[in-house]
């Protein structure tokens, strides 16, 4: 029983940064913009988040630093890809390379320092309940926030007029423009939201997961977040499933190794990625009328004035 609880806790912790970053990218892509710079925005968020928390002693301010840093990074992307209509794929890749370098520079002075990680919720008796107590009532703020974030994004996309307009920009920017919507402004906000989420997801790593900063500590999680958006076929509900599934496979393969299940560890390390591919194939074969990629995803839009 205790082991099951421990595994669920580890899965939640491992999935949270993926969920936050992927939710932001989902909104960006729903507006028709493909920003491949998630990894770069995350790692800058990690460096700035740690710097903020270390300087002020507050995890909350650290998280804010991460959000601001991610947003600023995404503005660089918006300036290039939206303002100057540069190729989005190239700009996104450049943003990642920039982010990796920049984070090393920002974080150089903080390497080797440590902070007190984010506090976990504790409600007497509720948190002490066996099995579900710590899972439901004993997490840090990031975990609860990530759930609220996905619900908020779902509500925004499907239940508000603004969400409908954002999706319209992603599906047909020419029509949205013809109807008088400021496509580029809407996309800029979507890109900024994606950057803020990526920055927060990055900040989660040094603030809650492993409370220290080391260059390159995101270790490819930004790319996984990007894959998750495709995996979810651009739907928030499936994104939650995907993120937790990915986290679960990652953690379970470690446990399976500890139990001595005789499967090669290299294969088990590849399992999460294999699962992604399999689900992608299943989704594309099913085609149950669900939304696939936003039609205008990754295409440049220059309004004619």
């Amino acid at each position: 029983m205790e082991l099951v609880e421990a595994i669920i806790l580890a899965v939640l912790a491992a999935s949270t940064p993926l969920l936050i970053a992927a939710t932001g990218e989902l909104v960006t892509e729903r507006s028709g913009v493909l920003n491949l710079g998630v990894e770069g925005m995350m790692i800058v968020g990690a460096a700035c988040g740690f710097a903020g928390a270390w300087l002020t002693g507050s995890i909350f301010i650290g998280a804010l630093f991460g959000i601001v840093a991610g947003t600023l990074m995404s503005l660089v992307f918006a300036l290039m890809a939206l303002g100057l209509a540069v190729n989005q794929v190239a700009t996104g890749l450049a943003l990642t390379i920039l982010g990796v370098g920049l984070s090393g520079l920002i974080g150089a002075g903080f390497v080797g320092e440590r902070i007190t990680p984010a506090m976990h919720l504790y409600i007497p008796s509720l948190t002490d309940m066996p099995l579900i107590g710590r899972v439901l009532f004993g997490e840090d703020a990031f975990v609860y926030f990530s759930i609220a974030l996905v619900i908020g994004v779902w509500w925004f996309l499907y239940r508000t007029r603004a969400g409908l307009i954002l999706r319209a920009c992603g599906d047909n920017h020419v029509s949205a423009h013809a109807l008088g919507y400021p496509v580029l402004r809407i996309r800029t906000f979507a890109v900024m939201f994606g950057g803020a989420c990526a920055g927060l997801a990055g900040a989660y790593l040094p603030l809650a997961y492993t409370p220290f900063f080391i260059p390159g500590m995101t270790a490819g999680r930004g790319w996984i977040a990007l894959a998750l958006v495709v995996f979810s076929s651009w739907r928030p509900g499936r994104l939650v499933v995907g993120a937790y599934l990915f986290g679960a496979v990652t953690i379970l393969q470690l446990h399976a190794q500890g139990w001595g299940v005789g499967i090669p560890s290299q294969f088990m390390s590849a399992l999460p990625y294999l699962a992604t591919v399999i689900v992608l194939v299943l989704l594309s074969r099913a085609r149950t009328g669900g939304s696939t990629a936003p039609a205008a995803l990754g295409t440049v839009f220059v309004p004619d004035r």
């Binding site: 580890a10 390497v111 492993t210 409370p211 080391i214 500590m217 446990h255 500890g258 090669p264 560890s265």
Partner: protein
């Protein structure tokens, strides 16, 4: 007109050679690093050694380093860049630089190269590495003494001989204290991913391990052990900051003495291509202070360290019994020879797990 241009060119050439000559007063020594110098592990320790070198011979040499150089073909360009900048002795500090270093070495026979942890050499290319398994043996003794559950947790990077020999040395040592000791091994399949290393440490502790050892690079596992009130060993560098009440000791890469020795040889003109595989006796690595353990355990560790340093104790002394229950062929007299350890691809008896790929 043409004549005066020629004269000018000749003058410039002369000036160029003169300035080169004055710069040549100091020997230029170059370093290629895999990670950032702030990685707190592998590259950090190489750079500490470079700093020690500068402190010792700073008036005679000038050092340059390139950090974050990816392994593989890209490295060749970086190494060549150091050659063109006039470096006469170049240290390439990761296994993956082996072929690129060899390629550049063949192209520039007058430049000397030193490659860490590889096995390919050339008349102008040496190799150097450390017998970390000696340190792992000491850790195994401590771990078996300190473990209450009798279960050790081991985070491996990749199932390569360097890591496998470390696991075997650990277990052989632990068995001398507790014949029934168990080890749980989790391969992270990465050298560096703090999040995954932390997850692996959590999994090991959740499965009952109470002493955590790692052959991956970040202090994440140390921190998890510290959070959970367990014990752990550092890796490559001093990690006690991340677990003041957790770190038992750490194998510290101390390349400084070797770098100083080799640069002195270069200065004296006696440098030649060699293979150096140094252990505790040649100070290629050191043990961090033994902390968070009672005095009797500390004494066991110190005695073992002294015995290994003096050559009286060999971690792989025969018979070494494999998982199949058969003793391994003993090529080094009363212990396994260096070649057998360098290519170790089997688990010793007492490890329940299966070596990946076997």
């Amino acid at each position: 007109m043409r004549k005066s241009l020629l004269a000018l060119a000749a003058g410039l050439l002369l000036a160029g050679s003169v300035s080169a000559a004055s710069a040549a007063d100091k020997l230029k020594v170059g370093f290629i690093y895999l990670g950032p110098i702030g990685d707190l592990g592998w590259t950090y320790q190489h750079d500490l050694a470079r700093q020690a070198l500068v402190k010792e011979l700073g008036d005679k040499i000038e050092t340059t380093y390139l950090e974050n150089v990816p392994e593989g073909p890209d490295a060749e360009r970086s190494i060549e860049q150091l050659v063109r900048a006039g470096n006469k002795l170049i240290f390439t500090t990761s296994f993956g630089y082996m072929d690129p270093t060899l390629k550049v070495a063949k192209k520039y026979p007058n430049v000397h190269f030193e490659h860490a942890t590889g096995y390919k050499r050339n008349p102008n290319m040496s190799t150097y590495s450390a017998k970390w398994w000696q340190g792992r043996y000491i850790q195994g003794l401590i771990a078996a003494k300190m473990s209450k559950s009798g279960v050790l947790g081991y985070i491996g990077s990749f199932p390569i001989p360097e890591v496998v020999s470390g696991i075997n040395a650990t277990i052989l040592a632990a068995q001398t204290i507790n014949p029934n000791i168990k080890v749980k091994i989790i391969w992270a399949n990465t050298w560096f991913d703090p999040g995954k290393e932390a997850d692996a440490a959590k999994a090991l502790i959740d499965q009952g391990a109470d002493v955590i050892m790692q052959h991956t690079d970040s202090p994440a596992a140390m921190q998890i052990a510290s959070e959970r009130g367990k014990l752990a060993f550092g890796q490559d560098s001093e990690m006690i900051k991340f677990g003041p009440k957790t770190q038992l000791t750490s194998i510290l890469d101390t390349w400084g003495p070797y770098y100083i020795e080799r640069v002195k040889a270069e200065l004296a003109g006696t440098w030649k291509s060699e293979d150096s595989w140094g252990g505790l006796d040649s100070h290629m690595f050191a043990m961090a202070p033994y902390t968070n353990m009672p005095d009797d355990v500390k004494k066991i560790a110190e005695d073992a360290q002294a015995a290994i340093t003096a050559g009286k104790l060999h971690p792989f002394k025969c018979p070494v019994v494999g998982q199949d229950g058969k003793p391994v062929e003993c090529k080094g007299g009363d212990h396994l020879d260096d070649g057998q350890i360098l290519g170790m691809n089997f688990y010793v008896k007492g490890i329940d797990d299966k070596l990946p790929g076997k």
